[in-house]
Symmetry: C2
Subunit: 397 residues, 2 copies
Amino acid sequence: MNVDGQFSNSIHGPKHPQSVGYTRAQKVVFYQSGPPLKLAAGGKLAPIEVEYETYGNLNQARDNAVLICHALTGDAHVAGWDENPEGPLRDYRRNKPGWWDEMVGPDKPIDTHRFFVICANVLGSCYGTTGPMCFNPTTGRPYGLTFPMVTVADWAALKIKLLDYLGLQILYAAIGGSMGGQEALEIALGWPERVQRLIILSAGSRLGAQGLAFNAVARHSIINDPNFKDGNYYDGPRPLAGLAAARMLGHITYLSEESMGHKFGRRLQSKDVPDFTPIGVEFEVESYLKHQAENFVARYDANSYLYITRAVDYYDASVWGEMDLARAASRITARLLVVSFSSDWLFPPESCRELVSAMCRAGRTVTYVDIPSPYGHDAFLVETTTISRLIHSFLSI
Amino acid sequence: MNVDGQFSNSIHGPKHPQSVGYTRAQKVVFYQSGPPLKLAAGGKLAPIEVEYETYGNLNQARDNAVLICHALTGDAHVAGWDENPEGPLRDYRRNKPGWWDEMVGPDKPIDTHRFFVICANVLGSCYGTTGPMCFNPTTGRPYGLTFPMVTVADWAALKIKLLDYLGLQILYAAIGGSMGGQEALEIALGWPERVQRLIILSAGSRLGAQGLAFNAVARHSIINDPNFKDGNYYDGPRPLAGLAAARMLGHITYLSEESMGHKFGRRLQSKDVPDFTPIGVEFEVESYLKHQAENFVARYDANSYLYITRAVDYYDASVWGEMDLARAASRITARLLVVSFSSDWLFPPESCRELVSAMCRAGRTVTYVDIPSPYGHDAFLVETTTISRLIHSFLSI
């Protein structure tokens, strides 16, 4: 199958006892010939390589496809074990299953006996789809900051391109959490006739001022790392300290005061008495953040962090209704499920309810659930028991 | 008056119509001879210069003194206009009154017709009291990271030293917000016989895991600034980008989602359409944080930021009761007023109530008020109308 692109680097077939029908780590190249992709922010880009994975089998009616959209630092590898990982994610992928493996698989809530599940990495990422660390064919050098600005609208357009390529006119469901929820929403707004069900977790129609502020600090840290060098760092040391600061900060916003209190409290890190130093690691929570950041910078690209957080900043679903969210929501024909979590302070319940309210005002029937949870924004990845029931039920109607 | 120290750099007398009895920007040097100050974390320090200001007049009974303790980046200049500022704070102080001028002055809630008000800069600061940017007399060079670790307990001890020096056995009240509330609490715990009234605003007995985490990211940013050079940056470029990141982050935690939403929303900065760039300033909230940070780095020392945030990290009032807060609180004999603000998420109402509850369990009568406010942690500096009534009433009983 090669309509507009070509396969490369394919790893086929089941590699793990549970991985029935998994075809993973596939790549397709679009816009190799003909006009480039016109980006919503005004730029153009070609060619574009997209990394995606699929799980389960497409039925004969081609109407059992479920698209999952990943979050900020996620990738196409949703489920199963990748036993032969390649590239910069090698070590990261080798020792853990896909990022939503609890939800996707045979007899799991998003049941691969029943559904053909697709997840593709977003444009601008460093995880397989074309992004700023890729070579610009015109210059033969990595794009860096010459990479054009990409937006959630472009991600959605490229997903539609992929669905066309896979011969999928209809999505049984589009599902996403956080930024992925916004991308799924954008697809349902832009191509309402192609989405039958829309599930949005931990996301609102747009980020609030506080979220914009945190992203601004994260980018400030990256840009002011002396190794950043205006984004041209690929042949030298990378801006790891700045990216680490961004990740530590992000990590705090994904948790909640309550969950951090439970998990770490004020416990010291492997000592009974502090060292009384202004610069060392004293508390467990410091050690945890440092460790998380070290793991992260080994597998993520700072330029991608800049582009993707900025895309999240820009996103505002209400542009589909001339800044009237209800008018925008009236475009959607999909059945709707929105889930918020009580302690999420990046997309707090009020933010999700704003979207739900707009959908209701637009005359749409919405299933909305606010789940009491101490796990903050990350709850959509943690509260799997509760979400499993919700998603399983919603996909059954 | 010179008991153990000496005046230097005094600016006397009323400089402003309202500044009756103000004597500002005074310095006293302690531990010039004799044993140095033994610090709670184990170090020693001498000599120690303390900058303090007073407002109003001490009465004959010497029982009308009110001590105000400042917050993280505050200084001794609480009230009035300093028309002849010197040193690094020159530009900062010239164009604005003291940081709590709305609360302190003639006929104001902390009435300088009635009270003799004192505020002194904390140890480790860069605002007049000895800190890491001061010259170490042994080496003739700035202390930098050779400055010993200071704690809230040391701040309290040094305040007592200053009170002794001023001939004040009794404080009519000790008052502080945020970190200043913790310092006031520490004084009432360590020297209960000297504090008749204790007013704590926006502070708990200790910082939670989330607060520790934010401070860790702030310090990470400073320490990883290439100009930091292990704290020895005083004869070269300073770690401004790292300190700016710390301040931007801190600033977010002082506000609330609601107040940021009201103040900035998602408005673009002086443009109708974004520039679509991953590195520039697009939103008003970004511009605001950048501007605030630029002002801040011009007037604050990065090493002081490290030491003072760490001191806040370490502080836990329950050490006075062998980690039992009620047992600690039983030491206090002062009348108690604790004020929290509904949207404060650095010291949230639950954190303040933990302290109040411990005081109650210790058999103390506490006046506790949780003020509904959208202004977050900064509310203690913003909600002056409400606080004025509370403090005025509390100081009248």
